[in-house]
Amino acid sequence: MALDIGFWLLAIVGVGAALAVVLLRNVFRAALSLVLCFITVAGLYITLSADFLAAVQILVYVGAISILLILGIMLTRDIQRGSPANKLRLPAILAAAVFVGTVCFAVFNTPWRISTVAPLEPTTAALAGKLFGENGYVLSVEIAAVMLLAAVLGAIVLVREK
């Protein structure tokens, strides 16, 4: 019951924050409401008993990515114009509505096989076993490390003064 109330609170706040990101004209305020949206997503992970991912969400998204985005806004700010919509506003609304309608129709008409097993808690040790253990995802972890290195080097090369 408490989880239900938590879900509805987080869902309403999260959708409101996401709408604010899309509708606010001031890009800086949009970035701040995006931070609120990230925090509600972390809360949703807690209601889904994914404690490690909630912590990572706070650290990576709220801590790092939002700072990066706000820094980008400060470097390229265009206060007079804000962030208006382009000519494609109505087709974009239509496309998004069609997408949401289709997915909701599919979700509510699929007979999901819900498992009754209690979820693992805490998940950190089990997740580490999955990522680094036998028959796990070690190769993917190493590829992700190389990808992050390549991304950081690419970012440095792109913004370096000639």
């Binding site: 869902a11 959708v15 995006l34 992970y45 985005l69 390229t76 496309a95 693992l120 998940t123 999955k130």
Partner: protein
């Protein structure tokens, strides 16, 4: 009716739809990047919900979310670098004015 898998998936679809509208309709490139982050988070919610309700002990969905977060961090860094490089050369972050490949 208590909250179940369908509710989380519907919330994920709504968040993805909001992000999709923003990514298609915004002119400021940084606003487009913000909307892409919303879409990635919506997908993550769906992944964790599947992991919780379909395979509660296998955790495969949560492993996927870890990798999606790594890719999202790399994407934000490279995307912002491209936007800042464009802003230095052109003095604008309006995506409708960056159209030299259309001419």
């Amino acid at each position: 009716m208590s909250v179940g898998l369908e509710h989380y998936l519907a919330l994920s679809a709504v968040l993805f739809g909001i992000g999709l509208y923003g990514a298609l309709a915004k002119r400021n490139m940084i606003a487009i990047l913000l909307c892409i982050e919303i879409m990635l988070n919506a997908v993550n919610i769906a992944m964790v919900a599947f992991s919780r309700y379909i395979t509660p002990t296998a955790l495969t969905g949560q492993v996927f979310v870890v990798f999606i977060m790594a890719v999202a961090a790399a994407e934000a860094a490279v995307g912002l670098a491209i936007i800042i490089a464009l802003y230095r050369r052109r003095g604008t972050v309006d995506s409708t004015e960056i159209d030299s490949m259309k001419r």
